[in-house]
Amino acid sequence: MSEPILKINKVSKHFGGNIAVSDVTFAVEKNRIFGLIGPNGAGKTTLFNCMTGFVPITSGEVIFNYRKINNLRPDAVCRIGMVRTWQRVKPLSSLSVLDNVMVGAFAITGSAGAARKIAVEKLAQVGLSDYSAKLAGSLSIGLKKKLELARVLATRPKMLLLDEICGGLNHTETASILQLIRDVREEGTTILFIEHDMKAVTSICERIVVLNSGVKLAEGTPSEITSNPEVIAAYLGGGFDA
């Protein structure tokens, strides 16, 4: 077992009386593709928001690369190497596709020339080169998701948090994004992957954590998870006594 790059230690997040995430603990090993799944409202995105500094954690700790990052601002989290994408894509709509990726690349360089070079490279990697000059707002949802990916890759992350990057895509698009994610992992980036679609997750993840109503329900390999009766119950609904 290789060392963990990310440790989530008893993390809870309460919104007033509403408990969105409760006492969740898991660790992600370096260079893994790790899945975070669960039904709607399970607390997956909230957990991402907690990890990346967008909402403060109620209790517990997030340790990234041996450093406690509970109180870091989102931009600082990005600069130490953990970058997220958004479930609802957030393109910089009135900038060109190339400029969008350049904004990402400026996280690692101060020079516009160098940023452009990185951006061109990343656009080629995700297959968006032909769209460089188009306005980001004019792309289809599938291409916007690829743009999100190119933009975060341009920051040279140590770890990527992908929030339903395949949501709303067709089979071909999903397959090509999954292949991209495998390639990125080969380059040494650790991936934490939120996904709704069980098939996508089990086909790509080496280890999976299941959240349900803010609580960790199970953790294991894809085959362990898919045969776990509690997980099946959570996905198919309660009161299913088989």
Binding site: R73, C78, L92, V103, F106
Partner: protein
């Protein structure tokens, strides 16, 4: 290439204009100074309002800081006008940094609201302090700098032109740099921007500071040019709004939009204010001077420029959301 040639010809024409018009036509030069000043002010506002998308409704505060500081230092301490202008920049920078560091921690419309509040606090303070001349304002009888004849308009024409060129150069440099990209990312989506490593408050403060410094220089030049200032001339909310409208009508977030806006709106306002349009209608026999319409126009058209600004703005927002410059871009 073609664009560079047009800009070069335009710059040459602008530089030679006082020689073409000559000293005997101070009225035209005066209007041109107003055009250049509004172009510079609107371009400076564009850095924080257009590129970073943080709408400041209080840029009169920075303009007034430059104007008041310069004239107070000259009239009370007989300091060199340049020292006065430099001190004005320091005051403007302090106002910008205090406002920014308090408000930029928040999202949404807080900055717009706070910028009005800060500008109004400053206006009311200046109106009630003694050393600022209170409601009477400050009148400066004479000012000298390096033997230049500051009673002539030409030095101020070239001063404003230089300020506009500096402002446009800064804008263009920013636009192509990391800071410019970051400001535009902030304008487009703050969550996306911060998740990509952008320190929102730092970059907003930086943009506001640059914008405030340039605005304060315009204020200093204006004060030395007019040599009489009061709060209604340099600290009024109306000035802040005219700066914004000029940028919106010309094309917000573009390099040349604010210049185009100033070129159209300042002469238009002047024509209305001096009743030029009413006079023309009479002159061409369209309206009789003694008819009820003629009397109505004569009495009311002079006050109509704010109304006209308003109508043009509404039309722009409805039909030209990218300003008049956006119209040319679309054709191209």
């Amino acid at each position: 290439m073609k664009q560079a040639l047009i800009i070069a010809l335009f710059a040459l024409f602008t530089a030679l204009l006082p020689l073409i018009i000559g000293e005997e036509n101070p009225y035209i030069i005066g209007i041109m100074i107003s055009v250049l000043m509004m172009a510079a002010l609107s371009s400076a506002w564009n850095i924080i309002g257009g590129f970073a998308g943080q709408f400041s409704f209080g840029h009169a505060a920075y303009f007034g800081a430059g104007a008041y500081t310069t004239l107070i230092l000259i009239s009370s301490f007989e300091l060199n006008p340049l020292i006065g202008a430099a001190a004005g920049m320091v005051v403007a920078a302090l106002i910008a940094l205090v406002t920014g560091s308090i408000v930029f921690g928040l999202r949404g419309h807080y900055f717009a609201l706070a910028s009005i509040a800060v500008a109004e606090i400053i206006r009311l303070s200046v109106l009630n302090f003694e050393f600022t001349g209170g409601a009477q304002g400050i009148l400066l009888a004479n000012v000298t700098l390096w033997g230049l004849d500051l009673n002539s308009k030409n030095p101020f024409y070239y001063g404003m032109l230089l300020l506009l060129i500096v402002t446009l150069t800064v804008t263009e440099y920013l636009r192509k740099s990391k800071t410019g990209y970051y400001l535009q990312a902030i304008r487009e989506d703050q969550d996306a921007a911060s998740s990509l490593g952008i320190n929102l408050a730092l970059y907003k403060n930086r943009a506001l500071l640059i914008s405030a410094l340039l605005t304060s220089i315009a204020g200093s030049l204006y004060a030395l040019y007019i040599r009489f200032i009061d709060t209604s001339a340099v600290l009024d909310l109306r000035l802040s709004i005219e700066i914004i409208l000029t940028a919106i009508i010309g094309g917000v977030g573009t390099l040349w939009g604010p210049v185009l806006g100033a070129l159209l709106l300042v002469p238009l306002a002047e024509a209305l204010r001096s009743n030029m349009i009413g006079d023309a209608l009479v002159k061409f026999g369209l309206v009789s001077e003694t008819s009820s319409v003629g009397i109505f126009l004569n009495e009311n058209l002079a006050h109509a420029h704010v109304l006209v600004y308003g109508i043009i703005t509404v039309l722009c927002i409805l039909y030209l959301p990218k300003g008049i410059l956006g119209l040319f871009r679309r054709v191209k």
